[in-house]
């Protein structure tokens, strides 16, 4: 019948797509296949010094211009494919990181950007600092650097979606 299928499509997505994803298995699909041409990034500051934000902000500038790869920043976690976390991960941010991660539709990626999000950098062991993003949500990639330069960030994002050799170089 048409009507039940229409309802099912609304609720679960079109049957054709369901079958395809199910046959490959979401887990088996590499990020390259899933996000290669378009990646919506939600940035989350979990206690940074604003150095990482400064560098990430430059990704949109004409020198790096991440939109030429189909990448974009999104204000809503509901539209996001990738969670880009900076900062030391403070206790106050832990529930917010979880909430943002849960609000993102699957499949999704998480990237820890900057030394702070990886191990806390110089703030390791400070009161109220977790220091490791991987303790809160599953992390797919780590970008070291204090702060990581826009070049490093772009290279890492491209290789994460399987386009490492696409040439992250400058626009010029």
């Amino acid at each position: 019948m048409f009507y039940p299928r229409w309802i099912a499509n609304l609720v679960k997505g079109p049957a054709v797509l369901r079958r395809r994803v199910a046959s490959r298995g979401t887990k088996a699909m590499s990020p390259a296949r899933l996000f290669a041409r378009s990646l919506a990034i939600r940035h989350l500051d979990a206690g940074s010094c604003n150095g990482c934000e400064s560098e990430i902000g430059l990704l949109g500038s004409p020198i790096y211009d991440l939109s030429r790869f189909g990448f974009s920043f999104t204000p809503s976690p509901r539209h996001a494919d990738l969670l880009l976390v900076t900062g030391v991960v403070t206790d106050a941010m832990v529930p917010l990181i979880r909430a943002t991660y849960d609000a993102m539709p699957g499949p999704k990626l998480v990237v820890a950007a900057g030394s702070c999000a990886i191990d806390g950098c110089v703030f390791r062991g400070a009161p109220g600092v977790v220091g490791d993003l991987a303790e809160i949500v599953p992390v797919d990639a780590w970008i070291p650097g204090c702060p990581p330069s826009p070049d490093n960030l772009l290279d890492a994002l491209l290789s994460l979606v399987g386009r490492g050799a696409a040439g992250a170089g400058e626009v010029g």
């Binding site: 939600r42 940035h43 989350l44 500051d45 979990a46 206690g47 940074s48 010094c49 604003n50 150095g51 990482c52 934000e53 400064s54 560098e55 990430i56 902000g57 430059l58 949109g60 500038s61 004409p62 020198i63 920043f73 999104t74 204000p75 976690p77 900062g87 030391v88 403070t90 106050a92 941010m93 917010l96 943002t100 950098c121 110089v122 703030f123 062991g125 400070a126 009161p127 109220g128 600092v129 204090c146 702060p147 330069s149």
Partner: protein, 436 residues
């Protein structure tokens, strides 16, 4: 505020910081004659420091102000009425932004109140520094605010040098001023770029970002780090730098021309100016604001001129650069533009100074020292107590932690929701230096 502070303010001294120390509350003063003083106002409880009618900073400074020492803050006035609703924003907000929560009381489009809630990114800087080695504390201070690395390292170094009585050579002084001005240049360019982006001036934003990137690349070429980390330290500097004077000269030449072109274009764009004039005007003139925000609201304080450090006695002379009295977004834009030109002129004069030979500092002694510098966002104060080469306590008072109190009244001053991103970008204060 403790009565002694009000007395000192009446006598023309400035209150730099109020902090609890060994069961008592101490006040660091910047006296009229330029010297520092510290008074003990007893264990308290004291009334909390004056917010000048801005009670909306609920969590600010609670780390510094222990509950025993100060009376609890009075409850905020509620903004209520028919049709009034709250527009929450953050702490995960905008495209790329620091964690801070804004709660705007809105009627229609008009903003009638703003409450800021901070504390999401508190990293326990002061407690982390306690008992650490001086160099480890320096590393931490460089990471308090990433875009003000040199200012923090310099204020820390001045405080340690003050405590230990270290003298530094002229080469190091010139180098410090040059690095500080380079930092101011990239920070102000970034602020202007986000202001241009918030008003929809994509071409100007692109030009300013490109300019900022060229400064950051020069910084990397010169010091090996885009944000100038690991250069300034107690006793002078921490490593040798290559001679890049010709590169600096050509960079300044190019940057000045490009910046003037962007500024001229913006100054002749009505839609841009129209969004700035009158937006986010800070009400009242008696505020103790600092930095760009203060200078755009009629408070003519600039530590570089009022209490010159490093090589600024040679750089700051003659007529003081004119400030602005309106205190609106245009004023902040104007003051930043003027200061970019001023920083370029100072960098030309100092050149890419090449400090020869490193001076290993001796951290053996102890004592209390003060460091006061003009960071890109304004006055930055460090008070460091040392004992046996280790940090006993380190008290930091940043410009942003002072200036954030002006944001709620400025936003709730006849602005509509659509003005909010512009006002926010025109302040461009750091949350990292509020949540220490």
């Amino acid at each position: 505020m403790p009565a002694a502070c009000e007395q000192a303010a009446r006598e023309g001294h400035k209150v730099l910081h109020i902090f609890p120390e060994q069961g008592s509350v101490r006040v660091a003063l910047w006296q009229k004659d330029g010297r520092f003083d510290e008074i003990d106002v007893g264990p308290g409880p004291h009334a909390r420091p004056s917010r000048r009618g801005f009670p909306s900073m609920r969590f600010a400074e609670e780390q510094e102000f222990t509950p025993e020492a100060f009376e609890p803050a009075s409850a905020e006035p509620e903004v209520t009425g028919e049709g009034m609703h709250v527009v929450p924003l953050g702490p995960v907000r905008a495209d790329v932004a620091e964690a801070l929560r804004y709660e705007m009381n809105v009627l229609g489009d008009q903003i009638h109140g703003l409450t800021l809630r901070n504390g999401y990114k508190r990293r326990g800087v002061a407690r982390l520094m306690q008992g650490s080695e001086a160099l480890a504390a320096l590393e931490i201070s460089e990471r308090v605010t990433g875009t003000s690395t040199v200012a923090h390292a310099l204020a820390f170094s001045l405080a340690v040098e003050d405590a230990l009585g270290l003298a530094i050579g002229e080469g190091a002084s010139v180098l410090r001023s040059a690095l500080a001005e380079l930092e101011r240049l990239h920070s102000h360019l970034g602020d202007l770029a986000s202001l241009a982006a918030s008003t929809g001036m994509v071409v100007a934003a692109a030009d300013l970002y490109r300019l900022r990137e060229s400064i950051l690349r020069f910084a990397e070429h010169w010091t090996g780090h885009r944000y100038l980390r690991g250069v300034v330290g107690p006793g002078g500097w921490r490593r040798e730098l290559p001679d890049v004077s010709p590169d600096l000269a050509s960079l300044l030449e190019e940057a000045e021309g490009q910046f003037l072109a962007v500024r001229r274009a913006l100054d002749h764009t009505n839609s841009f100016l129209d969004r700035l004039h009158g937006a986010g005007r800070i009400p009242g003139k008696s505020l103790e604001l600092v930095g760009v925000v203060g200078r755009s609201a009629g408070v003519a304080e600039d530590v570089r001129w009022d209490r010159p450090y490093a090589w600024y006695p040679e750089l700051c002379f003659g007529r003081r650069p004119s400030g602005f009295a309106a205190g609106d977004a245009y004023g902040r834009y104007f003051v930043r533009c003027e200061e970019i030109a001023q920083s370029i002129a100072m960098l030309r004069r100092s050149g890419a100074a090449r400090a020869a030979g490193t001076q290993p500092p001796a951290y053996g002694g102890g004592g209390v020292g003060y460091g006061l510098v003009e960071s890109p966002r304004g006055r930055l104060f460090y008070r460091v107590a040392l004992r046996g080469g280790r940090i006993e306590t380190c008290r930091i008072r940043t410009a942003s932690s002072i200036n954030w109190v002006a944001v709620p009244p400025a936003v709730a001053n006849h602005n509509i929701l659509q003005d909010f991103p512009i006002i926010d970008a025109s302040f461009n204060l750091a949350v990292a230096s509020l949540d220490l």
